[in-house]
Amino acid sequence: MQSNALLHAESSVTQHFNDVGFMSQLREQMIRFTQTQLRDAEIAEDIVQEALLGAVKNLKAFAGRAAFRSWVFAILKNKMLDHIRKQGRAPATHSIDAEEFNEKGHWQQEAKPMPWQCPEAGLKQEQFMVILELCLNKLPGSQAQVFMMREFLGLSSDEICTEVEITESNLHVLLYRARMGLQKCMANNWLHDDRQATLQKSIKKNLTHTSQKNR
């Protein structure tokens, strides 16, 4: 019984690893995520490699790609945390420059948040993450970094402040700016008429020039 399960797990993993398209896409995605935290491309690749190897070593019954991906990302998350804890890094801080608001603090016309139309349209998790990634890449590095520490790595505000040596109010500003930018970017990318076409275009664009966040 047990060996059966093991056999199944093994074949399932092998299957994932043999799917070159899936694996290279996953690897790319992992590297981009990692680079929001560690700007050093080489270290990012090392960490991703380690995480992938870790996934192979710890064979588990993966029900499908989603399970496999989440397993790999869980390992990645731990590796990134390890790395961050070893060497904290201070991001540049930003002041609140709220161009979204007028002098009275009301939303500017073009900045008014639009509702995302995901629910019954059934935008899949995976597609959401692709767009999120695109949008993360458009943020200033320090914003992307703390956002990922908070939402992806799940660190508390206190922990983040300690790790990157910023004050709490700085952190709130950075997270606020990050969320503001992301929700705007996500809305823009989802509200298109032909969503699928937009998505395909953005995936291609993203794959060709992966790292273009010099602003």
Partner: protein
Amino acid sequence: MNCQKASELASRQYDQPLSLSKKISLKFHLLICKHCRNFNKNIEQLSHSMQSFLRGDDNKDQKTDTSDSDDSDSQLK
């Protein structure tokens, strides 16, 4: 409270507990302001989606408000 302040608090509530008075004024503003409500919903969804991505639930049921009644897709003949 204006929209700028409200959206700042909306963001902050995901990172630290707000004081009661801030919570109340935020709630009140959200009741009367559609834009800030959208903002709040969007950033909540951001966080929510990251979490479910990490958990590996690949389906889109964001709302679990359907209590444990039967599945709608039950195959009755």
